[in-house]
């Protein structure tokens, strides 16, 4: 079979296909995987399938280098988490680790082959100020944001402005909700805390219950994270699901919880695109039960048009004539989901015309 234009998800689904790869296919695979942040993850998958020796030497170092970086970032993340735990221990508050940091801290398969440069923490909203003040006393400082961004974070977002330790690269985001207050779906944070489970290696810290962890990953796909690293976020979700489905009764718990949090529609979409790109197995019964959350046929085909393009690697070799438009639509939709129009319009205006210009990176 001839390889399709988009190779990252193709190899993810059929690792054995690389036996037939030409050097031109390797060229595209490396470039698409780099752009989608999946070089190290594909490397890990190919290692698992005993296929690394099949990668031609010219291409192999790209995968190995990405793994060096991912491993390094994971090590730094664990160190950062231990530091944070020590600093925040005195406050005696529930501390939940989110997203990539949670996968690493809990040593989940979703951590394999991916590095993250930020740590996301969830704390009760009344503790946000206290946490921020404690960290700032201990050499974590607010990252330089424009005045506009800083005001915006404080007033409307679900987080304090990002912090960074003076001598380290890792960025810390302290949240009080998993989605902004302004968002159209807004899960109850107190309930997330109650259901969270203690992390064995990091006493005093917890991760969300499996269903909540997965539903959070679902929401990320359609918000900011998914816009830049769609396929990577989707593969995190795939790995979370593959592990979770070994627990008895998992799918039922997931569906119930999705309904409770008003996230059945996003879950429907996420499973649809995970199946489309990565061949994630979702029992038929689950798909049937989610069908009531599906939108009308016209909306669904529009959404398919947008997300089958947006979630693909952001490389020109896997794009078509509509990719740009689809990305713009997904961007607008991500903002639409998290902000009511009275905030959305001025915000996008500011981003487009006022803060779009300064760029200062200097060549080496």
């Amino acid at each position: 079979m001839r390889a399709p234009a988009e190779l990252v998800s193709y190899v993810y689904r059929n690792p054995g296909a690389i036996h037939q790869f030409s050097m031109g296919d390797w060229d595209r695979l490396v470039r698409q995987a780099r752009q989608s942040g999946l070089l190290a993850r594909l490397h890990f998958q190919l290692l698992n399938h005993g296929l690394v020796a099949t990668i031609p030497a010219d291409a192999r170092w790209h995968f190995e280098s990405a793994t060096v970086l991912a491993d390094r970032q994971q090590g730094e993340m664990r160190r950062e988490l231990r530091q944070l735990r020590t600093r925040l221990a005195g406050l005696d508050l529930p501390l939940v680790v989110l997203k990539g940091a949670a996968y690493v801290a809990a040593d989940l398969p979703a951590a394999r082959g991916r590095g993250h440069d930020d740590v996301d923490l969830l704390v009760p909203s009344e503790c946000l100020g206290e946490v921020e003040a404690t960290l700032e006393q201990a050499d974590w400082q607010a990252v330089d944001l424009s005045d506009y961004d800083q005001r915006y974070y404080r007033r409307w977002m679900h987080a304090a402005s990002p912090l960074r330790h003076l001598r380290r690269a890792m960025m810390i985001n302290v949240h009080h909700a998993i989605l902004p207050d302004t968002t159209r779906f807004s899960p109850d944070a107190a309930k997330l805390h109650r259901r969270a489970t203690e992390l064995p290696g990091f006493s005093g810290m917890a991760v969300l219950a499996t269903e909540d962890l997965i539903l959070h990953a679902v929401t990320l796909l359609f918000h900011d994270d998914g816009l830049t690293h769609g396929l990577c976020e989707l593969s995190d979700l795939d790995l979370l699901l593959r592990q979770a489905e070994t627990e008895a009764g998992f799918w039922t718990r997931l569906l119930v919880r999705a309904e409770e949090m008003d996230l059945s529609r996003p879950l429907f979409y996420a499973l649809r695109y995970a199946r489309h790109f990565l061949g994630t197995s979702v029992p038929e019964e689950v798909r049937d039960r989610l069908a009531i959350a599906a939108p009308g046929r016209a909306t669904l085909s529009l959404m398919d048009g947008i997300y089958t393009r947006t979630l693909a690697p952001g490389h020109h070799s896997s794009a078509d004539a509509l990719t740009r438009l689809a990305r713009q639509a997904a961007y607008l939709r991500a903002h639409w989901l998290r902000r009511p129009p009275r905030l959305l319009v001025p915000h996008l205006f500011h981003k487009a015309f006022i803060s779009a210009y300064p760029r200062d990176a200097k060549p080496a």
Partner: protein, 311 residues
């Protein structure tokens, strides 16, 4: 096939079209650009490097230098560097198109090639042993390197010392040497045959021009060399040249801070660095006149040769 064997029109056609496939040291590049300055620079400086059929399908780094179109900028045209669609730098004035390609290529290697420990240093070789010259810019490092390679030393690299993590040997990446400001005239006077491309003025580093790497260095670019010395050069006014032994501890510390990826490699970075230091004699070196400096280095290389025969 070598780049100089391509007719100038064909070089420009490939550059503007699918990009020219070029090998520099361990890396393959595909460079795309419609800018005359880029075609001219590559034609003049990379003549000895291998090019392949434009349909060659795999390249490590796909890069482009293009005019940067922005409203209101038509009075001061700019160019931008992109690595497979990613732009790591802000655009620069059009006169800096060629240096931007070189800086961009340095960035590509230093950000990705973690199969090496990468040190920000020049490296040259004679009689089978390499001299690593780490130095902050402004110390006369590139001037000294230019003087050495124009006196028969083999150029391994001007900016990026690539140390194989498994063997500890240094891999060559003999791209053109970047000289700044007064160094350009100084090297022209030192060696009237030296070839420089057209200088770019007013860059972040002042005026820069590139010295064409010697043919022999390019021919041997796939031949790694074991480390022999780590020498920190410093240009001073009106002094006799002097080599002063330097502590290995201090050198290790400097290297760990000046490697591009020491932190990324973790314990492995430390292991490779200590292995390197163990095999190298470390010196501080000050000089005023290039001829004298080259003579000191010749002495070092000769002593190494005698050691080898003595063993």
């Amino acid at each position: 096939m070598k780049l100089l064997q391509l007719p100038p029109g064909e070089l420009r056609r490939q550059l503007a079209d699918q990009g020219i496939w070029l090998r520099t040291g361990p890396f393959s590049l595909r460079v795309r650009s419609r800018l005359e300055a880029v075609a001219e620079g590559l034609g003049e400086l990379y003549g000895q490097f291998e090019v392949r059929n434009p349909h060659e399908t795999f390249a490590d780094f796909h890069v482009a230098v293009d005019p940067h179109i922005r409203l209101g900028r038509w009075l001061r045209p700019e160019v931008r560097f992109s690595f497979d669609g990613v732009e790591p730098f802000s655009p620069l004035p059009r006169d800096q198109a060629y240096p931007m390609l070189e800086w961009g290529l340095n960035w590509c290697v230093s950000e990705h090639a973690h199969q090496y420990l990468m040190i920000h240093a020049a490296v040259v070789e004679k009689n089978g042993r390499a001299v690593i010259l780490p130095a902050p810019s402004g110390c006369g490092k590139s001037t000294l390197v230019a003087g050495l390679v124009l006196s028969g030393w083999r150029l391994l690299a001007d900016e990026l010392t690539l140390i194989d993590r498994k063997t500890g040997r240094i891999h060559a990446l003999p791209r053109p040497i970047c000289l700044k400001n007064e160094s350009i005239a100084l090297i022209r006077a030192f060696s009237p045959d030296a070839f420089f491309n057209r200088a770019s003025c007013d860059t972040a580093k002042g005026t820069v021009a590139y010295l064409r790497p010697p043919k022999e260095s390019v021919r041997r670019q796939h031949e790694p060399a074991p480390p022999g010395w780590i020498i920190f050069p410093k240009w001073v006014a009106d002094e006799e040249p002097e080599l002063l032994p330097r502590s290995k501890q201090q050198t290790l510390q400097f290297l760990s801070q000046n490697a591009f990826n020491y932190r990324q490699l973790g314990a492995e970075g430390f292991r490779v660095c200590t292995g390197l230091i163990k095999q190298s004699d470390c010196y501080d070196f000050q000089y005023s006149r290039l001829e004298q400096a080259v003579a000191v280095f010749e002495g070092l290389a000769a002593s190494a040769n005698t050691d080898k025969r003595g063993n």
